[in-house]
């Protein structure tokens, strides 16, 4: 039976070292942010109604 062709042509590649490096750097920064308590501070803000977002000020 004829396989259904995919809608786009895909091609796996190794990817650039720069992209992989930035990916790892991003993960490291996320780890540092969590370590410094950033996510807890984000939680504090995000669980209260943001008056600026609504347009109250």
């Amino acid at each position: 039976m004829e396989p259904t062709p995919l809608p786009v042509v895909i091609r796996p590649t190794a990817g650039s070292r720069l992209a992989w490096g930035l990916f790892v750097l991003g993960l490291a920064l996320m780890g540092l942010g969590i370590w410094f308590g950033e996510t807890a501070r984000i939680l504090d803000k995000a669980t209260q109604v943001c008056l600026q977002c609504i347009g109250i000020g």
Binding site: T13, T39, I42, C53
Partner: protein, 319 residues
């Protein structure tokens, strides 16, 4: 149904799945909000389960850090020990948000804009309406970088009031997603909030209306002109692991890709364009299958579908 539209709809639902909030008018206050989504989704939307990276970044930047003397100015700032200054710089920088967006950008470029963003979905849907289509001046596309630098970074850092506090300026003065998701829904469900609405709300509402009116005529106007997330992710299109490539030697410039581009671009001019949201519509539309999707995390090579006979190498260019 269009696969991308389905993914966008599911992503919009999952990021706003606190359905109780749409009835009670109370926002979700659980621990999932520690995390940000890599898209513009207001955390004051009654349904939002996660935080918005733009809002979160401004909150951290405006805090000036978590040290005892964070936010000190003038002589008081000079007297702060170096160790505490370093601590304040580290904790006053949104490392988690920058890290998240860097990791996402390195993997996918702006694909999250095209596949996951609720505000992107809204723009795509409105652009499907049968109105004449226009292309806005390219210079407007620089606006998003200005918004990122001035309103998201500089104003929360330096525009401090007399009591030493600064505000998330982008959320306050611009963000139409916040107006739509928080500004319209929360006051509609809370009479107390409704009584507080004033000139600022009217300004934000007018801005939202302007973008909504532009959407049927212009492809993704908000993404192109004013989205700070788009501005941050845009440079990653050049280096991300998910890439699009074009066999330019065989391209007959039929214009099929240009016609379907949801960002209003001409893919033949460059598939790494900062405004490309990786929707892959161009790859699907190319009759010769010359636009290929590349990434290390994709499955094994597949054979290309046979080119459409009607669009062979002899087809005349449309422009």
């Amino acid at each position: 149904m269009n696969l991308r539209l389905l993914v966008q709809a599911i992503a919009t639902f999952l990021t706003n799945a606190h359905l109780k909030g749409f009835i009670t008018g109370k926002i979700y206050d659980g621990s999932l909000k520690r995390a940000c989504v890599p898209t513009l989704n207001c955390y004051s939307c009654p349904g939002a389960l996660f935080s918005c990276p733009v809002g979160a970044a401004q909150v951290i930047l405006s805090s000036g850090g978590t040290g005892e003397n964070a936010g000190a100015t003038g002589e008081a700032a000079a007297a702060v020990p170096l160790r505490e200054k370093v601590w304040n710089v580290l904790t006053g920088t949104p490392l988690f948000v920058i890290g998240l967006m860097t990791a996402v950008g390195a993997l996918f470029g702006r694909a999250t804009c095209g596949w996951l963003c609720p505000f992107g979905l809204l723009q795509d849907l409105l652009h499907r309406l049968p109105f004449p289509k226009f292309r806005a001046p390219r210079a407007l596309r620089l606006g998003k970088y200005l918004f990122l630098v001035v309103l998201v970074v500089l104003m929360p850092l330096f525009w401090v009031d007399s009591s030493g506090f600064s505000e998330p300026a982008y959320c306050k003065y611009v963000c139409p997603a916040g107006t739509l998701q928080g500004g319209l829904l929360l006051p509609a469900l809370n009479p107390d909030l409704r009584r507080l609405l004033g000139h600022l709300f009217a300004w934000k509402l007018a801005l939202l209306a302007l973008f909504l009116l532009a959407m049927p005529f212009i492809a993704r106007p908000f993404c192109s002109w004013a989205c700070p997330i788009g501005a941050f992710l845009a440079p990653f299109n050049r280096i991300s692991l998910l890439r699009l490539t074009l066999d330019a030697d065989r391209c007959v410039r039929c214009g099929a890709c240009r016609q379907v581009c949801v960002a209003g671009l001409d893919p033949v001019d460059g598939l790494d364009a900062p405004d490309c949201v990786r929707c892959l519509a161009c790859a699907q539309a190319c009759p010769l299958h010359l636009i290929k999707v590349e990434a290390p995390f994709l499955p094994a090579p597949t054979s290309a579908p046979a080119p459409t006979e009607s669009a062979g190498a002899g087809a005349p260019p449309s422009r």
